[in-house]
Assembly symmetry: C2
Homo-oligomer: 217 residues x 2
């Protein structure tokens, strides 16, 4: 009857209606979380019938999976170019951190969702795309740090695996306690908060990582 193929694992192409739904879902999931977002609110916001979501995606969870693969499609190759660039290792670190933050900041929605929905004991939802992405990131970072170590600029007793938790952890923690820090740092307006991330927070993280890499105790 309604012969829709739900598991289009290799190459998913979404039509206009599906993309419309995905965009609304992204906004609402990011705003309220997966559980607190009803498919009725999605359908209402997207101005489509509730049944269309089941019709197109199969279920609410499948909708989330589709959303993830829709948004993390081209993300993978972003960092690889950087480590190949003709820059000093320390400047590469600066650029890498800036790239990280900018990238995540521009795709707040999906990263917020990922951060939440896949970190809980939410083992029902498993996405291997995410694992590949993380491993790719680690590889690029390792290349840069090894280069710096060979040049004698970076210390050699660094646990490289713990660098990105510090970068990303700091950023996410700051974002996730947004209202607290808005209040604390008097960043009431959205643009102020955004600006603070792009300048002070980015600089803080760069400073931190560089200090860790260079400082001799």
């Amino acid at each position: 009857m309604f012969n829709i193929i739900f598991n289009m694992t290799s190459e998913e192409t979404f039509n206009d209606k599906q993309i419309q739904i995905l965009q609304v879902a992204e906004t609402l999931f990011a705003e309220n979380g997966f559980d607190r977002t009803s498919i009725r609110s999605i359908s209402k916001e997207a101005k489509i019938n509730v049944a269309m979501i089941s019709y197109y995606f199969g279920s609410k969870e499948k909708l989330l999976e589709s959303l993830v693969s829709y948004r993390t499609k081209d993300l993978k190759f972003q960092l690889e170019n950087l480590s190949a660039e003709n820059l000093e290792p320390i400047d590469k670190i600066d650029k890498l951190i800036e790239l990280y933050i900018n990238r995540i900041n521009c795709n707040k929605g999906i990263y917020r969702i990922l951060h939440f929905e896949f970190a809980v004991g939410n083992n029902d939802i498993k996405i291997e795309v995410l694992d590949e992405l993380r491993k790719g990131n680690l590889k690029s970072l390792t290349a840069i740090i090894k280069e710096g170590q060979n040049k004698g600029v970076f210390r050699k007793d660094i646990i490289i695996e713990l660098i990105s938790p510090t970068i990303l952890g700091t950023f996410f923690h700051f974002n996730m306690n947004k209202s607290f820090f808005q209040n604390l740092l008097h960043l009431n307006k959205e643009e102020q908060f955004e600006s603070y991330i792009k300048t002070s927070l980015t600089k803080h993280i760069q400073q931190t990582i560089k200090a860790l890499l260079i400082y001799e105790s």
Copy 2:
């Protein structure tokens, strides 16, 4: 009739039944998240009637609030004592980080809950206890850093507000991507993972913060 005072802001004392409920709630909230945990499942696990939760705590959200204040009671005082201790600022930083991690690690449940439930745009749930806790933490940290700055040990252009996001963010990010790091660092057994946190991760964070505080660029 059922004259129970729900807003016992200053001094809340819980009876055995309430503590029993709180403990079960903590486990289930941490395992499945706040939304995915029904009060029926709590009541079933705690072997009490559903109505008892409303009876004792007022509502599901109030239960969560009670849980938070129940678990974060004495952290505040531990930190306050630390900054008053007779130690060099740099050793206080070490101790503070160790205290943080140990504390959070021993109370995984509640911190996992906090991390998730209050980070989303979950503005319905507002807990002033949490805000006080964070501000208290910041105050203790500020005291230590200021002391170090006055002694000429720490640099003066540090944004103190961004220190604890780095400490906590790193720790949480590591924990929330547990399975990834277990795989990456070959910490398959639980005790190995725990041990890694207590040694390598703690050391990494201490090293990072100290480097940031001391390093002259």
